[in-house]
């Protein structure tokens, strides 16, 4: 961890412990160390580190994780607001690439 932290209490990540089988896949894919598994159940140990990338939801075989994933990019959100569409970054447009 670089020590960089973003806003607290904003992540939309939710874990349905009842569904979890403790496979640890969420630990493997999460780039910010949000999860731990104890006694064959996943736990969210650092919710505020979550950047809502969606990797855990997509890779949880038991469908125990939910997160509203998306691009955390101000210009994408502005463009989304102007065109009233879902935010999407200009990465695929011909002339620019934001990341």
């Amino acid at each position: 961890m670089t020590g960089l932290r973003y806003l607290n209490n904003v992540s939309t990540l939710r874990l349905d412990t009842a569904r979890c089988n403790g496979c640890r896949m969420c630990i493997v894919v999460c780039p910010h160390g949000v999860f731990a598994v104890t006694q064959r159940k996943a736990r969210i140990i650092d919710l505020d580190a979550c950047m809502e990338c969606g990797a855990c939801e997509l890779n949880c075989p038991e469908d125990a994780l939910r997160v509203k994933a998306g691009v955390g990019c101000a210009s994408a959100i502005i463009q989304g607001a102007i065109r009233s569409t879902e935010p999407s970054c200009g990465c695929d447009s011909k002339e620019s690439s934001c990341c």
Binding site: V28, C53, C73
Partner: protein
């Protein structure tokens, strides 16, 4: 230059497996590769900086060798192959439209469907005997490992975030340590993004700076070219300085600037510049037209730097969309008020 004509000096040979010819890649980067990355950072030929999707070989791979999956952005591909020195393996390049792994995964082009399609397109099962793929962990937001397995029979293993950890990952029996899985956003990670940010925002900032220059000639007596030179150059310079500082300093000083919100960090560098400009005015009264024109910068500069810093959230690897939304709900109205007050003062200054 078409995609295919791009020089492919990094192909150093060919292996034939079951009648399919597979190009062998160099695991050493040459100066042309480095120059290419440098140019791509500055946005030159960035969209043409691609590798043809398909299967490649590194070293002398056999049917049992590992398969590494990559994006067809040449910089992603170069990073991977340069870490395969002395490793015999296969590289499966997905068609991510020339976008890096992380961004392409976010969009889903580095994704489950494309991976399954590419496995079939290159007849991977004819080339290798096992059913395992090593993906960069940053591809996980686009790929569902269990779905890939269901549909294609291939088992996805997520490797380290950074290509330079691949040798260590393989040595550890294909196990990524917690450190290898952690995304960092260190000084160099941030600094390399600045050129592209400068180029991307130039199209908004340069015309605005030109407006400050040209409008400076306006006054109660309609227009004076002399006034345009006398005050306009300096106005354009201050605005340009706000732009350059707003783009470069927040990324460089990110951990040390106050606040968690990028808009606050950006406003703080703007305030420093605004104070510096104010002091300059105090000691050089001849450099500004009147108090309105001078005071305007106290508002315009922080508004501009706060905005550019907020836009840098798009490049960061730790900001969540929900967080950016919350930050923007608070920051954008303030930025608009600051900019409006600043512009109002500045225009008042033209006629005062």
């Amino acid at each position: 230059m078409s995609k295919k004509e791009q020089s492919r000096q990094w192909i150093i040979g060919e292996v034939t497996v079951n009648g399919t010819k597979i190009p062998i890649v160099d695991t050493k980067l040459i100066s042309a590769d480095r120059l290419g990355s440098y140019k791509a950072r500055w946005g030159i030929g960035r969209m043409r900086y691609i590798v043809e999707p398909g299967l490649y070989a590194a070293g002398k791979p056999s049917a049992g060798s590992p398969v590494f999956v990559s994006a067809n952005y040449k910089m992603s591909f170069d990073r991977l192959r340069s870490q395969l020195k002395g490793i015999d393996g296969w590289i499966l390049v997905l068609d991510t439209k020339g976008i890096n792994v992380w961004c392409a995964a976010g969009k889903g082009t580095f994704g489950t469907d494309e991976l399954i399609r590419r496995i079939r397109a290159v007849n991977l099962t004819d080339v290798i005997s096992h059913r395992k793929l090593i993906l960069p962990q940053l591809g996980a937001p686009g790929v569902s490992a269990h779905k890939v397995r269901e549909v294609s029979g291939f088992m996805v293993k997520y490797g380290p975030v950074r290509a330079e950890d691949i040798p260590a990952y393989l040595n550890a029996g294909r196990n990524a340590t917690a450190k290898m899985r952690q995304v960092n956003f260190g000084f160099t990670d941030r600094a390399v993004l600045i050129p592209n940010e400068l180029i991307q925002s130039a199209k908004y900032f340069l015309p605005a700076a030109a407006c400050f220059f040209l409008l400076s000639g306006v006054g109660a007596d309609i227009y004076s070219a002399e006034r345009m030179i006398r005050y306009g150059l300096f106005s354009a310079a201050i605005f340009s300085a706000a732009y350059v500082i707003g783009i470069t300093l927040p990324p460089l000083l990110l951990p040390w600037l106050p606040g968690k919100a990028f808009s606050v960090k950006g406003a703080s560098v703007g305030l420093i510049l605004a104070v510096a400009v104010g002091l300059y005015f105090i000691y050089n009264p001849e450099s500004y037209r009147n108090v309105f024109g001078a005071a305007a910068w106290l508002f315009i500069i922080p508004a501009a730097t706060s905005f550019t810093a907020m836009n840098f959230t798009g490049c960061s690897t730790y900001t969540s969309p929900s967080g950016v939304r919350r930050e923007m709900r608070a920051a954008v109205p303030i930025q608009i008020v600051l900019a409006t007050v600043g512009a109002g003062l500045w225009i008042t200054g033209l006629f005062a």
